[in-house]
Amino acid sequence: MCAARAALTVIGMEITEANQLEGHRRPAVDHREPAVETYGLTKRFGDRIAVDDVSLVVPRGVAYGFLGHNGAGKTTLIRVLLGLTRASAGRASVLGLPVPAQRARALARVGAIVEEPSFYPHLTGYENLKVAAAVRGPETRARIEPVLERVGLDKRSRDRVGTYSLGMRQRLGVARCLLSDPELLILDEPMNGLDPGGMLDVRRMIRALVEDEGRTVFVSSHLLDEVEKTCDVAAIIDGGCVIAQGSIEELVADDGGELVIECDDTARALALLAGDPTVRELRAEHGALRMKLLARDQAGEVNSRLVAAGLVVTRLEPARRSLEDRFLEMTTRLEVAA
């Protein structure tokens, strides 16, 4: 099943000018072994295949989005990576250590939230971290106050967690992850249920963890827009198969060479370019012209032709799709193929 989907895969793990639109700083390329690597990872529950032959490479020092619909297999893959359940086939390594063989050593350098952060509601935020620090080791105790401050919960740390909002619990979950000063954070749907303000807080926190602290953050989500805004690199999973992975820029890149032109008279421009031999496809959409040329460097000629005809061109740029467009396009194609 996944073999057919592999044809759609965008492979390109080099981190380029990822997410320039969101103003992300370009992460430095880290040449150590990948933060996460899987090869042919498969997880079956009886006859149902939850994760199907997944091969992933998560580079170090980036925010990596793991995108998929609900039930696509994201959480199952995370559970396999963290040794919470065994893979049916394939292999995986976390921070260069094979899991589950060296799971304990790997997890000592990983912070993770799976599904949702859970706490003892009758304890305060501080006490919950104290309990968590006790399990992690003596050196983590001294990090409780700094991590609470780091996630902006220092002023509410003496309140019972039962009184916290979901956003606060998410931040406390990240604080718990940070107790052991992890190189890799795995956050399963960290934006789930958050209001726009809470999402912005989490997004900023993830970016800071990557850009200011050099950590790798693996974020699973079904919120495409959030992944596009937060992550440098992403993989798209559908029906247990990874159907594409690469930098966000590569994933949203317009491989069809489509141009968008806006001018003062769209109908006239359409008529003018309809018979043009350099234009392969042409259509009017939402008050603009969208076209594909035989070669992209012919865009200047098209512009000259429109200007020479007395049209005022106000916009001429390559069409840029959102990650959502790309995601829907891929999953729709797969549904049609199926």
Binding site: L82, L84, T85, R103, A104, R105, A106, L107, A108, V110, A112, I113, V114, E116, P117, S118, F119, Y120, P121, H122, L123, E127, K130, V131, A132, A133, A134, V135, R136, G137, P138, R141, R176, S180
Partner: protein
């Protein structure tokens, strides 16, 4: 990941924190042992005050024997079950078990840390009730004989044994089932209904020596009370106690290791 003593101490102290901060559970455990004690003693005090010729004072040695039954065979174990069930399944109920597992810490270590913490809380509750019971034993003794220091110490040790064993069993069963409510229901039913019936079932003969209640009644110091005592060699009592102490907790620990987090 090996477990050094500092980490073990921290884990126990963390478990102690989460148990003692569970104020509702602590209040219930205290109520379970203190309320019957106060009611029984109050009833005796009123009765004696209203008709001293017919009713003995509320304190003294006989009352002390009844106190031991209450704290070591009936309500003390109920409190121990409440605390043990919380210790065994509290992290599962809160969803924190998965996060603890994600640290890479051995699941056996996570299980073992629960035991000293829960036993400490159980012993504290028992000690508070025992202190109140001793107060009433001496305070309302009138002219009746009172227990000496040796008997008091033996009784304290016996109560500690009885309630600790029940607490550890409750930790084992709740870790095994993953359910606080199920554990509390099943163990209280066993402790207050089924086990006393089996102890009195003469047809079971020496098989009754395998019952924890029979062993605890046999080991109980001080004056005999209403509960039947089945004679047995001390070695049998020791072996049976150790078996109860090990088997169910071992099953609970095994389930902890294999449970899907």
């Amino acid at each position: 990941m090996t477990l050094d003593p500092t980490v073990a101490r921290q884990m126990i102290s963390a478990d102690l924190l989460r148990l003692r901060k569970k104020r509702g559970m602590i209040a219930l455990a205290l109520a379970v042992v203190l309320v019957p004690l106060v009611i029984a003693t109050g009833y005796d005090v009123v009765r004696h005050a209203s008709d001293p010729a017919h009713y003995a004072p509320a304190g003294g040695l006989n009352n002390f024997g009844r106190l031991l039954d209450l704290l070591g065979i009936f309500m003390g174990p109920v409190a121990a079950i409440l605390i043990g069930a919380e210790a065994g399944a509290g992290d599962l109920a809160a969803g924190v078990f998965r996060d603890n597992v994600l640290t890479g810490r051995s699941r056996t270590a996570l299980f073992l840390a629960r035991i000293p913490a829960a036993v400490a809380v159980t012993l504290t509750v028992t000690a508070i009730a025992f202190a109140l019971g001793i107060g009433t034993t001496f305070g309302f003794a009138g002219g009746l004989p009172t227990p000496d220091a040796t008997l008091i110490l033996q009784s304290l040790a016996w109560l500690a044994l009885a309630n600790s064993v029940v607490c550890v069993i409750a930790i084992g069963v709740s870790s095994l089932t993953g359910s606080r409510a199920g554990t509390i229901t099943a163990l209280i039913g066993w402790e207050l209904v089924l086990s006393p019936l089996l102890v009195q079932a003469v047809s079971l003969g020496s098989l009754r020596r395998g019952l924890l209640d029979a062993v605890l009644a046999f080991l109980k110091p001080g004056p005999a009370s209403g509960a039947p005592v089945i004679p047995m060699p001390v070695a049998v009592a020791v072996v049976v106690t150790i078996a109860w102490l090990l088997i169910l907790p071992a099953l609970g620990a095994r389930r902890m290791r294999t449970r899907d987090a």
